[in-house]
């Protein structure tokens, strides 16, 4: 269960100007629920994602995950084991091969033995259809394959929350649909809450729960 109450995040641009990137947002998300966060550029989507991902802790209000504010968790533990993130730019490490990229979150801690970690990575690579490419470098993969690697990496530590930031933004529409389909399947298999952030309403038409952001505030779908 994720409960966000009166979430505010402001940035001081200069002496006079303060930008309210998030301006009093409140909503809840249930376990296994998929939530689409829709908004145009500058609406506050990325700021919300940074807060939920544990990267930005300088917010006001509360963000409770399993009854506990994010700031009460060890930030490294939270980022490693409670949440997994998929980026629009894939953000794979070019110097590491596919399997090493997938293993990255558990290289820095966690409960897995090296053998378990390897099995988990291979299992996820099988699930995203990349078993044959595990020793390839990212620059040897297509965009869709890179995003699949990023998905496997986000899931490797079995997080409670999956954050997907414009996951199909750099892909053609067919590949984008395949990735969305994969995310829906994984949501059922991996038992986690999923936030899919996008500016493209068409992409998330199959998702029941949508929240709309504009100028840092939640708005009703009709606006």
């Amino acid at each position: 269960m994720i409960k966000i109450t009166d979430l505010r995040r402001s940035y001081r641009m200069n002496k006079e100007t303060i930008v309210h990137a998030l301006d009093g947002i409140s909503f809840e998300a249930n376990p296994k629920e998929i939530v689409a966060v829709v908004g145009s550029s500058g609406s506050g989507k990325s700021t919300l994602l940074n807060v939920l991902g544990g990267l930005d802790r300088e917010y006001e209000g509360t963000v409770d995950v399993d009854g506990k504010d994010i700031r009460a968790y060890n930030p490294n533990y939270y980022r490693r084991e409670k949440v997994g993130t998929i980026f629009q730019q894939f953000n794979l490490i070019g110097a590491l091969d596919v399997r090493e990229n997938v293993l990255l979150p558990i290289k820095f801690g966690g409960q897995f033995t090296p053998a378990e970690a390897k099995n988990r990575a291979d299992y996820l690579l099988h699930k995203v259809g990349l078993s044959e490419r595990k020793h390839h470098l990212p620059n040897e993969l297509s965009g869709g394959q890179m995003q699949r690697v990023a998905i496997a990496r986000a899931l490797v530590a079995s997080p409670d929350i999956l954050l997907a930031d414009e996951p199909t933004g750099n892909l053609d529409s067919t590949t984008g649909q395949e990735i969305m389909q994969l995310l829906y399947e994984l949501n059922q298999d991996e038992d986690m809450t999923m936030f899919i952030v996008t500016h493209d309403l068409e992409l998330v038409k199959g998702i029941d729960r949508k929240i709309f952001l504009r100028d840092g505030q939640l708005i009703s779908p009709n606006k």
């Binding site: 490294n76 980022r79 490693r80 090493e100 990255l104």
Partner: protein, 429 residues
């Protein structure tokens, strides 16, 4: 984390090698200094030990001998009168129970020797009067039948053979060597106008190799005293020995353990220009080599500092290059401390790689150049089988130092990387 750092270093081979090159060059320089000076020290020590035995003590009032040994702290205190090394004092020293043999010698300065059939003298010519046997350990090698200098028969050193490019030492035996006053005196203790017109002819009775020493003509002690008496205006050699005295006294102790006692006796009882043992000479040699090594090490360290600035520069650049990656791994749960280690390990590996590469180059260089150096040294009278020796413990220490240099150079960039804000890092391109 270690594996992750290794992966990053291995995948960026070109960058790793190029960054390491700076440290490789400084390690080559440092290793050559350290190994080379160690080997040089060993070589000079063994050359010294061939000529100066541990049971020997040298007493001297000679400016030449004093100039060499003065650095070992044996200089006479100002204002005190120097004890003459005359016949009576030598007799007194000879009677000491620890003294086995006391062998006086003279130095005839300001004369130049020319071999029969040649028209140029050996400049300068070091001439001594010394009743030394041809089987004495002072000589590295001898030729001819003369057992010791006698009358007008002298030992001629191989310096003359080198000067005149004579290959066969036996060919000069029986020839005449003429000494006459040098046109420009090198040391002028008994230089007089009269001496400029004096010349003496001697017969080469034997040829000797005196190793690294300079002692070009060795005549008998009595004959040298006669020459010195004549040049100095004395009635006889005996009078010269009694009034002026000898220049050097070589004492051979009854046993090696007696050397300190003899030295103490000589210093307490007399006031000679210098009293030197083989240990003093070695100590002095060590001092010179240590000072020389220190200067060279300073150069090496400067090279190391330049190399470490190179590493630091590359690591800082690498942080700019890897800013997004740092953001990614922070987003994946890496702590600041872990990121610090990732960069420190990379810097350490680059340093270690540079060091090992440098040592490998030095090792190969040593193996390849050793025969040539040995040949050159043997041509110059050194008895050596090999010059360079690659010392593994020293090599390990050098590797450790190069790794430490890498880590120190990587510290600032690593701290910078660890302190990056993940949100900003993820936004960077």
């Amino acid at each position: 984390m270690f594996g992750y750092s290794i992966s990053l270093v291995l995948r960026r081979k070109l960058r790793t090698v190029l960054t390491s090159l700076g440290i490789t060059i400084s390690i080559i320089l440092l290793s050559l200094i350290i190994f080379g000076m160690q080997d040089l020290q060993r070589l000079l020590e063994s050359a010294f030990q061939e000529q100066f035995k541990p049971d020997e003590v040298f007493v001297s009032n000679s400016a030449q001998f004093g100039a060499i040994t003065g650095g070992s702290g044996e200089a006479t205190e100002e204002g005190e009168e120097i004890t003459q090394l005359n016949t009576e004092i030598v007799a007194e020293i000879s009677e000491q129970p620890q003294v086995a043999v006391a062998q006086p010698a003279t130095i005839i300065a300001s004369f130049e020797g020319t071999l029969e059939g040649e028209n140029r003298p050996l400049v300068p010519t070091f001439i001594s009067g010394w009743d030394i046997s041809r089987d004495d350990s002072y000589f590295a090698e001898t030729w001819g039948d003369l057992s010791q200098p006698e009358g007008d028969q002298v030992f001629l050193s191989t310096s003359f053979l080198d000067l005149y490019d004579i290959e066969d030492p036996e060919s000069v035996i029986g020839k005449t060597v003429t000494i006459r006053a040098a046109q420009s005196a090198i040391t002028g203790s008994v230089q007089t106008k009269q001496s400029l017109e004096i010349s003496y002819d001697f017969t080469v009775g034997g040829v000797v190799d005196v190793g690294q020493d300079r002692n070009d003509i060795i005549m008998s002690l009595d004959r040298s005293l006669e020459v010195l008496a004549e040049v100095g205006g004395f009635e006889s050699g005996e009078e010269y020995a009694s009034e002026i005295g000898y220049d050097i006294l070589r004492i051979r102790a009854a046993t090696e353990e007696d050397v300190p006692a003899i030295k103490e006796y000589l210093e307490d009882t007399y006031n000679f220009g210098s009293v030197v043992t083989a240990d003093d000479l070695l100590g002095f040699l060590d001092q010179i080599i240590s000072a020389f090594t220190l200067v060279l090490i300073v150069f090496g360290v400067v090279a190391g500092v330049v190399a470490s600035i190179g590493i630091m520069n590359t690591m800082v650049m690498s942080i700019y290059e890897q800013t997004k990656e740092i953001g990614i791994i922070k987003a994946m749960g890496a702590s600041s401390r872990q990121i610090l280690w990732v960069f420190l390990i990379q810097a350490g590996i680059i340093g270690l790689f540079g060091g090992v590469l440098g040592l490998a180059v030095v090792y190969v260089g040593m193996v390849v150049s050793d025969p040539f150096i040995v040949e050159a040294l043997q041509a110059n009278g050194f008895t050596v089988e090999s010059f360079f020796s690659f010392d593994l413990p020293t090599a390990l220490i050098i590797s450790g130092i190069s790794m430490a240099v890498g880590i120190v150079a990587g510290l600032y960039p690593a701290l910078k990387a660890a302190g990056l804000n993940p949100v900003k890092a993820l936004r960077s391109e």
